[in-house]
Structure formats: structure tokens, C-alpha cells
Point group: C2
């Protein structure tokens, strides 16, 4: 049997190739540090199928547009952010995942390349504020979603928890200057209360050497004023590709 190639036009005529529509779907997380909760941006569909169901924000990829650009565009259409972390999650393209795949024209397929994003909650403004069809949902109170978006969201949620432990994505969504307790609260909110002792978390984080003490003190209500720290990307650069553990 002649071998097919990813890039061969010389496909075996006896087996028809699938025809794909490719879109991106974004799992957009933010952390509301004030109320200590993780939020996901959802959009209510206004067309069939799954009309009036909530879904992940997504779009179809345009001519000349990279997958990542499509993900950024979808995000930018919904919320306004200056700082974010974004990476590809997983691709879902099995037959039957979209009810519009007409069984009579069997070749049509909807492939979704999912992306995972983490944005600053306070800075992220929903662009159409009056739009009731765009909203943040608490990650533990997600309604049933359209298509296989439940599965995609679950995939993203696991990625968020894992990524936080060995990659500095937290500093992409914290304000430019922050207290160590704010970092700790962020980790607690995502990973759960008892992931680590605060005292050890502090010393481990500081020992990594990429947090600069600005010596500026801030008082959040009562208690001793906390130092404001900055993420030092120069100091972090040499650690970029090393296997780090942040917790």
C-alpha cells in the first residue's frame, strides 16, 4: 500500500480525505484576587446549534492569519487587556464533535485548536459591557457548555494548575508591583488553600532570585506594611528553560 504523506497531493484515491474547518477556542482565565476566585470568560451563543448555550469564545481562522493571531483576535474582541499569558492547549478534531457535520456530506469536519489564556482580572474590561452574552463565570460554577467545550475547559483548568507550579505565569497577571502575600493568595486561589506553607513559600520564591524588593511599603488595612516586589525579567532570563518549581 502506498504511503500517504502529510504533504502529499498524491493521496490514495480509494480513501477520501476529510475536509476541515479550523477554528480556535479560548479558555480565558482570570483571578479575582479580591474575592479569591478563579474566573473563566464565557459567551452565550446566539445561533444554532446550541443556541442560548454558553460556550468558550472562539473564532474561525482567516486567510493569512496564524492560529495564535486568531486566538489573540478572539480575546481582543471580548476583553481589553494589556498583559496576558497565552499558549496553545490541545486540538480537538474527532468526527462528530460538531452537530453541523452533515452525515450525508461526510467529509466536513470542525477542528478546534484550543488556547489557554491568563489575564489580569482588574485590567480586563469586557468590551461590550451591556452585552449580557459575555460574562465571567467562577470556575467551580460553570454551566453545561456547548459542543465539547466542557472537556476543553477541563483541559485548560488542569493546564493552569500545572503551569503555575513550574512557570512564572503568575507574574504576567499580577500588577507590576505586588506584595509576596498577593502572590501567595493567587497560588492559594488556584491550587487550593493547603498547597504550601506561607513562610516556606516566601523563602523559596525569594531564593529563586528574580523578585526585586522595591523597599516601598504598603498597608492593606491593619497589620505591618508589606514590601512591594517587582518581577525582574533580566534575572529570570537564565532560568527560563530550566525546570523550576515555584511551590
Amino acid at each position: 500500500m502506498k504511503v500517504n504523506s502529510t504533504i502529499d497531493h498524491s493521496n490514495n484515491k480509494s480513501e477520501k480525505l476529510a475536509d476541515f474547518k479550523v477554528g480556535v477556542d479560548n479558555v480565558i482565565f482570570s483571578v479575582d484576587t479580591e474575592y479569591n476566585r478563579v474566573l473563566v470568560l464565557l459567551r452565550k451563543r446566539d445561533v444554532e446549534p446550541f443556541n442560548n448555550h454558553w460556550s468558550l469564545p472562539g473564532t474561525l481562522v482567516r486567510q493569512g492569519e496564524s492560529l495564535t493571531d486568531a486566538a489573540y483576535r478572539t480575546l481582543a474582541e471580548k476583553i481589553q487587556v494589556d498583559n496576558l499569558y497565552l499558549e496553545q492547549l490541545y486540538s480537538f478534531g474527532n468526527p462528530g464533535r460538531d452537530p453541523r457535520e452533515n452525515p450525508n456530506s461526510f467529509g466536513v469536519r470542525y477542528l478546534s485548536v484550543s488556547y489557554f489564556a491568563l489575564v489580569r482580572y482588574k485590567e480586563a474590561k469586557i468590551i461590550a459591557k451591556s452585552d449580557k452574552n459575555i460574562s465571567w463565570y467562577k470556575v467551580n460554577e460553570i454551566p453545561s457548555l456547548a459542543f465539547d467545550h466542557d472537556e476543553i475547559l477541563n483541559y485548560g483548568w488542569n493546564r493552569l494548575k500545572n503551569k503555575l507550579q513550574y512557570s512564572p505565569i503568575a507574574f504576567d497577571v499580577l500588577p507590576p508591583e505586588f506584595t509576596l502575600n498577593e502572590v501567595y493568595q493567587l497560588y492559594c486561589t488556584i491550587l487550593g488553600e493547603h498547597f504550601s506553607d506561607y513562610s516556606n513559600f516566601r523563602s523559596r520564591l525569594l531564593k529563586l532570585g528574580f523578585l526585586l524588593d522595591t523597599k516601598v511599603k504598603v498597608s492593606r488595612g491593619a497589620g505591618r506594611p508589606a514590601s512591594l516586589y517587582k518581577f525582574d525579567s533580566k534575572a529570570f532570563a537564565p532560568l527560563k528553560d530550566k525546570p523550576l518549581l515555584f511551590i
Copy 2:
């Protein structure tokens, strides 16, 4: 501006959508425990573009075929294996990654969903043995590959090294019964000589509790006979979703 949906046919007519050909490309690893080297299965192309260049084995996805099935099919066309580990790697779909994207018909795009596989070297027989166009390459002696396959392979190589540390994929490609030293050699081959002390590696692995001592002893040449162990999938089951560290 009207929002596009991943699954909307109601696309904004002012922006034309990209038309995609979707294929899978496999990064297939095996470990030659005899010579302590990691191997990758490559195929030499016999059509343009990149004719006579080595590439990852891949195929275009057929009608009604899942992405994973396409990956399995590609693998089964090249080698015969009974045991393997396979998972999705990453999707590459940026414009320009395939020279056949005609600049005049700008919409055509080649998207590759890459898969990562680990197979037993001794058991993996290349189906067309006489075929000089299919061959195992040492991972540190890879020629320049067609398209962006260098990047895909590098991605897979990193995944292999990471996956080995927190997931039991090694036992998918070791023989059914093995000595602890064989496990150690496998880890050494992939992760490098000095990833861990053998003594500690042993005790950590045994303490995890999913390796059964068959009490059968084997002699590999000189030296004290080693015990044969078996992977106990029942004992591993409760650990499946926990964050394990194998090294």
C-alpha cells in the same frame, strides 16, 4: 463588529476564512536499550516539495477518521508494534509552513496535528525492511528535516524527557518483565547519565508500590543475578491521576 464563532457559518464576509488541509505528523521514539540510545523513526520523502529530504512520518486525515486513528494508521503503516504509548503533541498551522501554499490562492493552508509515540525497539519491525526510505535515526544525529519538522521533533523530544519524569510511560515500552537496572538504563539513556543515583532510584521506584517482584532471577553475563519485576497496573490505578515523580 459581529463576533465570529468557531462553529458559525455566519462568518463575516469581509474577512475570508482560511481553507485547511489537516494532517498528522508522528514523532516516534524508541529506546535501544542494548546500545543505550534514543531513536526516532524518519521517512525520506519521494515527492516535491522537499523531495529526498527526511521527514516525520505523517498522513492526511481521512473522512470519518479521528485524529488519533490517523496517527495510529501512520504508525502501523511503517512499523509493527503491539505495545506503545501515544499522545497528541501540538498543532502547527501558521501560514507559510508548507511551500505548496500558493500565494495566489491565499486561503489554502496545511495544518499539522503532531503526535508523540514511544514504542518498544526490539518489537518494532519496520514493515518494508527493504525500504531504504524508512529508518531509525539516533536522536542526537538527526539530519535537517523537511518543512518545520525539526521544530516538531524538538517539541517531541522535550515532551519525552518531561513525560518520563512524572508518568509511567517507560513501562509501556519495557518488556513485560524487566530488571530494575533495565529501568534505570532506560532513564539514563533518555535523561542523561547523572539524573539520579541508582540506589535512590531503586528505593523510590519500589516505594511507589506498583512494581511486583517475581522472585525470578536472571543473570546477564557476570555478576549477581537480578530480580525480574512486573508493572502492576492494578496497584498503579489509584495513582493514575496523582502528581507522581519517578526520578
